[in-house]
């Protein structure tokens, strides 16, 4: 990892992959250093915001170095078990189901089976409030984004793209492949926290009854 300066009250931690991001973010959540304000996990980085009246960039950087090696030493399965688990029921009737099957050479039933078999982790959020990028997707289901994005994807669409799974929290344009939809409310401003999927959370998809 490398810690880079980002102004007078933040540092940017550069990592190799989303799993390291999740590990470091969980360390920040479980026992944050003095002066910690917030963190923004992303695909290969964590932006760590601090209060310069209470700490210094050097002290935060030193804490992050040791937290990063602690995270690397922790068996990720142990850390996973401690994180909250969110189960999302899915109606697998998305418009891209047949195309995903033909592109992966799987049957539709097998696509659904592989999407529900694994446990996912929310590595980071982005794109829109409450849009979580979930790692743990079956490698057989990893497909590049659609060549032509859709102009309108309904809220609560369950989707995959690249090595990530997600659920669209609100209606928006997008280029992900649509597997189906869920009744789960991904984003609600009247709820605290508003996002159903926060970084570090574990997620399972199941076939809606």
């Amino acid at each position: 990892m490398r810690v880079k300066p980002a102004g007078s009250s933040a540092v940017l931690v550069c990592l190799d992959d989303p799993d390291q991001v999740t590990g470091l973010y969980r360390e920040l959540q479980s026992a944050p250093p003095a002066g910690y304000v917030d963190a923004i996990p992303a695909a290969e980085t964590v932006m760590v915001l601090f209060d310069p009246a209470r700490t210094q960039a050097a002290a935060i950087a030193a804490w992050l170095e040791s937290a990063s090696s602690r995270a690397a030493g922790t068996h990720s399965a142990d850390a996973d078990r401690a994180a909250p688990l969110v189960t999302i029921p899915v109606r697998y009737d998305g418009p891209d189901l047949a195309e995903i099957a033909s592109q992966t050479g799987l049957s539709i039933e097998e696509v659904v089976y592989r999407h529900t078999a694994n446990e996912y982790v929310v590595a980071f959020c982005g794109f829109a409030p409450g849009f979580g990028y979930l790692t743990g997707l079956d490698p057989m289901l990893c497909l590049p984004r659609r060549t032509v994005p859709r102009t309108r994807i309904p809220a609560r669409s369950v989707a995959i793209a690249d090595r990530f799974a997600s659920v669209y929290p609100s209606t928006s344009p997008g280029g992900w492949h649509l597997l189906g939809s869920t009744e789960a409310v991904m984003w609600d401003l009247r709820r605290q926290p508003p996002a159903l999927l926060a970084p570090g959370a574990r997620v399972r998809f199941e076939v809606a009854k």
Partner: protein, 313 residues
């Protein structure tokens, strides 16, 4: 109207309302139960702002809040509010309001002609207040004793113009309730006038200065930039010397902070303000230090701005 003296406008409107409005309450009667501000004209852009909603960036919600935080805090102190109380943030002034009950207000930030700046002002029920267009600076803050009491969204009354979270932007006819949560009045009744002066903003390099050609940082700090008209609470778009990249591959989106100078492919930097996106996909060459962010929030279209290296903390 826009440059009318506030005091004159207020008394004239008050007299008109007493003479022409049969519903006006009688002098000396009890104050109305609900103190509120009625928006007669919102001006170019007026929003409710407090100190924002920190701590939600990980789920994609930015901090938002007053762009010029020092001016918001000062306005609140002058009316005896907690510093974090919600107030009005005017962009290019132009706000016209009427008070339903007696109130104590203070205006800070960009100075508007005729408006009593930097000190508490008592307003009587029924009075109108017309605020002109500032001659310099961009954002004026109007605090009311008790605070603007619109409902909180995720712990804040700030309008985030990027995500749409928070109370709606002010519109004609809107009624803004005034709260009751106050602190002690300060021992002064006038703050020293703030002079804006030339915009020289101090920057710290990084986090992605190594994605640019070696002399890009000195280009940034040695040349003058001009604020373009498509600037807003999200960011100040700048025109000037191109900051050339050496690394041309795509940057995976990463967290960004207020004050970040993000450089899109055209090479002209964008200085992120309060409502900036939580993550961005263009490299950030340098970040304006926190101490200079309030000055940055007063930059208006056409202003010259220069950047200087900051001392390492």
């Amino acid at each position: 109207m826009s440059t009318a003296s506030t005091a004159k406008t207020a008394s004239a409107a008050s007299a008109a309302s007493a003479a022409g409005n049969g519903c006006a309450r009688t002098a000396g009667g009890p104050p109305p139960a609900v103190a509120a501000i009625e928006v007669l004209s919102p001006g170019p852009l007026t929003t409710v702002q407090d100190l924002g909603r920190p701590g939600l960036a990980s789920v994609g919600v930015g901090q938002s809040g007053a762009a010029d935080r020092a001016s918001l805090r000062l306005a609140n102190r002058l009316v005896g509010n907690p510093e974090a109380a919600a107030a009005l943030e005017l962009t290019y002034g132009g706000l016209r309001i009427r008070f339903a009950a007696d109130a104590t207000i203070a205006l800070t930030g960009a100075p508007c002609p005729g408006a009593p700046m930097n000190g508490p002002v008592h307003i009587r029920a029924g009075q109108e207040l017309a605020i002109g267009i500032p001659g310099e600076g961009l954002r004026t803050y109007l605090a009311v004793r008790g605070g603007i009491d619109v409902p909180e969204v995720l712990g804040s009354r700030s309008t985030d113009v990027l995500s749409g979270i928070g109370p709606p932007v002010l519109e004609k006819g809107m009624r803004l309730p005034i709260g009751t949560r106050t602190a002690r009045f300060p021992n002064v009744d006038l703050a020293p006038p703030q002079r804006l002066g030339p915009a020289v903003l101090r920057v710290l390099p990084g986090p992605r200065e190594d994605w640019f050609v070696p002399d890009a940082l000195s280009t940034l700090t040695d040349s003058a930039y001009v604020v373009t008209k498509d600037s807003n609470r999200v960011g100040v778009r700048l025109d000037g010397s191109e900051l050339k990249r050496s690394v041309l591959r795509e940057l995976p989106s990463e967290g960004v902070v207020t004050g970040a100078l993000q450089v899109p492919p055209g090479g002209a930097p964008i200085l992120f303000l309060a409502d900036h996106p939580v993550t961005g996909g263009y490299p950030v060459i340098a970040v304006v230090i926190d101490a200079d962010l309030d000055r940055a929030a007063q930059l208006r279209a056409g202003d010259a701005v220069s950047f200087r290296p900051a001392a390492r903390p």
